[in-house]
């Protein structure tokens, strides 16, 4: 966490090396957040691109009152939400390997991981956006319910309900998939 603060401090003062390190450190995580919300890896990559452009453009005004991880996740979630609104992008769920590149280098593990990732993404796509957002920001971004509530201007109870419903539905969807 402190490393992020130092990197951000250097980045704000113009360091391209710090920017590169921020990118390398968070690219997979942010792409995962965006993919979970958009269910489209290409749109997720665009969201990642938009985020880093905005990060540089607004570097002078960034004031973190939470971790960079949470901050960046909220930014990517907002970008994703705008993309969905703007393009009326319907969650279409990933099919086949559909450009998913996971972090597992071993072929067997890779295949398993890809299969799992696709299944999760399919299930996430079937959740209402708000539930998907609550599940993604809490589990993937590690944000507390209070932080999510604040960033989405919603009450904590609502976020907790969305999370609980979302998780229950995911459980049902994923285990039905297995039975089929």
């Amino acid at each position: 966490m402190l490393e992020d603060k130092i990197l951000l401090w250097r980045f704000k003062r113009g360091s391209t090396i710090a920017l590169e390190r921020i990118y390398t450190k968070h690219k997979v995580y942010l792409t995962s957040v965006a993919t979970a919300l958009l269910n489209d890896t290409h749109a997720a990559e665009d969201a990642l691109h938009d985020f880093f452009v905005l990060l540089v453009q607004s570097a002078d005004s960034i004031k973190l009152n939470r971790s960079f991880k949470a901050y960046s996740a909220v930014c990517v979630a907002n970008i994703a939400k705008n993309k969905l609104k703007r393009r009326k992008l319907e969650p279409a769920a990933l099919e086949g390997s559909c450009a998913i590149e996971t972090e597992y280098p071993e072929p067997v593990l890779l295949a398993q991981q890809q299969e799992q990732t696709i299944a999760i993404n399919k299930a996430l796509a079937k959740l209402p956006y708000e539930q998907r957002e609550a599940v993604t920001l809490h589990l993937l971004a590690g944000m507390t319910f209070a932080q999510i509530a604040k960033s989405t201007d919603t009450s904590i109870n609502t976020i907790q309900s969305r999370y609980r419903y979302g998780l229950d539905k995911l459980k049902t969807l994923l285990n039905n998939e297995v039975i089929k």
Binding site: R13, K27, A36, F52, T117, I120, L167
Partner: protein
């Protein structure tokens, strides 16, 4: 496919990589934007940055001086008739990477610092020759910056290695000059010194800095600069500028001459991830005595952590965190820069406790902020140990030990006099295993 038993874990481990080609594109675009932004940053932010940085202060002042001269002459002809064109000055400056000058620091209360001659080979390497015979070589060209202090009379040397501090370079002169604020300069007219015609300018970029600059109208280069810090009540005065001189590279070597007794100090500025450590590890990281806390009946939990100073110094801090029975959270902070030699300001603070003849506890001039940074930083690093709401009553105390070591104390709530006394009396030097 196996059944999905733990959905939360699956989501937590959901990992998607951008495609390699797209990765390159995103990073390349971001870096291009950052480079563009850097050009704008150079003049604006570095001005503030360098004036706060002791190591670059002198170089910065000289750079600003040159910037001022160029700026002031930008509009054309000076009152004494000497034409100084902007382009000529820029061209002139491009010819000089190195420069030297004499520097004096004059303090209003009379405790002036010794005069020194400062020679810059470039903006990352300089030599300072102090009037008492001491020589400083400051080399920030590599990742590990180095400061060598030589005392030829005593054949003693102090070598301070600042790991991860460099490479550091003072701002590019031309970029600064191009963006310098020209609006608020005052023309002081001419004077003659040693047969040279000088033209003076005064510039107050902010409440902290007040420049008076005298320029040789012939060479278009600075001759004198006076930089007053009204709030700090001191003044840096520089003259005897030279831009065209020969130097011996050996004079800038950080290798200590043979026969000297060398004291080596290592300050580690490399980023570290916060981690739990033992008292002995604190001692290994400090170049002065490390202190540990004895058993106190009102302490419910204790943890020692190595982390980066959240105040931005980039140095490593060693924090001993205490949770107490009255729901307080107390942090004791130790670091290589925590000694009364560096923190002389402590003695101007209010003395709140004296324990025995030599341990004293003082207030901190900005105690709420200090406590905030350390408490919040620690809570984020070690949330399982310290999860609390920051109190408005938080406070900082600075504990000075008999061997000049300083220990910072940040507490979320006020610590009673009895507890403070207990705590201070329990401090003991770490005994190596």
């Amino acid at each position: 496919m196996k059944p999905f038993n733990n959905i939360s874990d699956l989501i937590t481990n959901f990992n998607v990589n951008p495609r390699a080609q797209k990765q390159d594109e995103i990073l390349s675009d971001a870096i291009q934007l950052q480079k563009k932004r850097n050009k704008e940053l150079l003049a604006e932010n570095k001005w503030k940055h360098i004036m706060k940085n002791n190591i670059t202060k002198l170089a910065a002042a000289a750079v600003i001086l040159i910037a001022l001269i160029i700026t002031f002459n930008h509009n054309g002809v000076s009152p004494d008739g000497a034409t100084i064109a902007w382009a000529d000055v820029v061209k002139q400056l491009n010819n000089y990477e190195k420069y030297k000058c004499r520097q004096r620091v004059i303090v209003d209360n009379g405790t002036d610092l010794p005069t020194m001659e400062v020679i810059h080979v470039n903006l990352s390497l300089r030599r300072q020759e102090v009037e008492d015979g001491t020589i400083h070589i400051i080399d920030m060209q590599n990742e590990d910056a180095i400061l060598v202090e030589l005392k030829p009379d005593e054949q003693k040397a102090v070598v301070t290695k600042m790991l991860g501090y460099g490479p550091k370079k003072d701002p590019d002169i031309i970029d600064m000059v191009k963006r310098f604020d020209q609006e608020s300069t005052e023309r002081l007219g001419t004077k003659e010194v040693d047969g040279k015609n000088l033209y003076g300018f005064r510039h107050k970029p902010n409440e902290h800095n007040d420049f008076t600059v005298w320029v040789d109208t012939g060479t278009k280069l600075p001759v004198e600069i006076e930089l007053r810090h009204p709030k700090m009540k001191n003044m840096i005065y520089m003259d005897n500028f030279e831009f065209d001189f020969e130097y011996d590279p050996e004079d800038f070597s950080t290798k200590v001459p043979e026969g000297y007794v060398v004291e080596t100090i290592i300050n580690d500025y490399r980023p570290v991830e916060p981690k739990q450590i033992s008292a002995n590890e604190i001692q290994a990281g400090l170049n002065h005595t490390a202190y540990t806390i004895g058993n106190l009946p009102w302490v419910t939990d204790i943890m020692t952590v190595q982390t980066i100073d959240p105040l931005g110094s980039r140095a490593i801090s060693y924090i001993t965190a205490l949770n107490t029975i009255d729901d307080n959270n107390i942090l004791l902070i130790q670091g290589n820069y925590y000694d009364t030699g560096r923190m002389i300001w402590i003695f101007n603070q209010q003395l709140v406790l004296e324990s025995g003849p030599e341990i004293k506890v003082y207030t901190h001039p900005n105690g709420k902020e200090y406590a905030k940074y350390f408490l919040e930083g620690f809570s984020k690093d070690m949330p399982d140990f310290a999860e609390f709401e920051l109190s408005d009553q938080r406070q900082t105390r600075m504990i000075t030990m008999p061997d000049e070591v300083v220990i910072g104390m940040a507490a979320n709530r006020p610590v009673s006099d009895e507890m403070l006394k207990d705590l201070v009396n329990s401090l003991a030097p770490v005994q190596s295993e």
